[in-house]
């Protein structure tokens, strides 16, 4: 049972490994060639990935996002648009980590347009990535693509906001008091388990909340934990 689950969770990896095995049986030279090709990308990735993760985490930690978020409402026109771009391009984590955060922002009054800007810029215009793009595709390519992308996002977020009403988004979900964890956003980094093993455990490569006794919760420890989660997947609402 656990073996099947493991395969399911890593389906893509299993398929890739299988493809390699078949390749090495049928045409060994091509298998070696594939490894060599991958080697180039692994080398490039290892040079840049650690530093990009550190830089994004530092930006995420030091830029006061709570303050910025106040300005994302419907009345804040140009300023809101600008700040939405800032939030999107400095935030840490993959795009799916942006979804729960944007839902929260919308509930707090951010306009649909600004949410679309955050999501789109989150995907394409990460600041640390711009240098990486310059390296492989040249400064001219990066600059032009960046400018065009920003223009495109400004235009299509405006059109989309005319087509969408606030009611089109799913309404207020019943917020439960207590501890909750968004498993869709979780990347399985195990930070929460390491920091607060009494409350969290890993099941199926993602974090889970253990059954807990609310009287024994160390609130300060928990709050620090919530801040440390790279994808803001943990929430605690007091009763």
């Amino acid at each position: 049972m656990t073996v099947i689950n493991k395969i399911k969770e890593n389906l893509f990896l299993v398929l890739v490994v299988l493809a390699y095995i078949i390749m090495f049986i049928i045409k060994p030279p091509m298998g070696i060639e594939s490894i060599k090709n991958s080697g180039y990308y692994i080398k490039e990735m290892l040079m840049i990935m650690p530093v990009i993760f550190v830089l994004t985490a530092l930006l995420d930690m030091w830029v006061p996002k709570e303050k910025i978020m106040k300005f994302l409402g419907k009345d804040a026109k140009a300023k809101g648009v600008f700040l939405a771009f800032v939030v999107g391009s400095i935030s840490a984590g993959p795009i799916y980590a942006a979804f729960p955060m944007c839902v929260m922002l919308h509930k707090k009054g951010a306009s649909i347009r600004n949410i679309i800007i955050i999501l789109s810029s989150w995907a394409v215009i990460k600041v640390p990535m711009l240098l990486n793009e310059t390296k492989f595709l040249g400064p001219k390519f990066m600059t032009i693509r960046w400018i065009l992308t920003v223009i495109a996002i400004i235009i299509f977020s405006w059109i989309a906001s005319k087509m969408l009403k606030d009611e089109d988004l799913p309404g207020e979900t019943v917020t439960k008091t207590g501890l909750s964890l968004n498993r869709d956003a979780c990347m399985g980094c195990t930070l929460c388990v390491k920091n607060y093993s009494e409350l969290f455990e890993i099941q199926g490569r993602k974090a889970m909340i253990k059954t807990y006794d609310k009287t024994t919760i160390d609130k300060e420890k928990l709050q620090n934990m919530i801040k440390a989660c790279p994808v803001n997947a943990i929430e605690y609402i007091e009763e």
Binding site: P50, I52, L131
Partner: protein, 160 residues
Amino acid sequence: MDIFTMAIWVGTLIFLGVSLVKDKTKTKQALKMAFGMGKGMATSIFSIIFAIGLILTLLPPTEIANFVGKQSVLLATVSAAILGTITLVPAFIAFPLVGTLVNAGVGIVPSVAFLTTLTMVGVVTFPLEKKEFGAKFTAIRNGFSFLSAIIIALVMGVII
């Protein structure tokens, strides 16, 4: 190491130093966060890279360039954009990959369309986005992103 990678390293190390001086616990937390992100994504990143290595052996970039060159620009661009929506590739793999393709002679327009949809539109993330924002929002956002990927690509073809 090239100048651009160097610049990121130097900049980040300075930032890290300043951060460390200003607030030790915050910095420690940021480092933990970075490590956590890397660990969480490691499996999928390695799978994607090895898959790319395999695909580029079966379909060498020069042959891709050859094939794309024979199609009309619009058809090639739309196909490249569609191909980009299927997969979700982290940007730091997407850039060297598109770099390889451009150097092998694949046109700038299809390459840009591929690069933009690769990072902005996701069939994989569609169900998640729909769950959080509803079908209409998700369809409109992804649809517009797809369209702008093609427009951005075509405009870039004119400028570069």
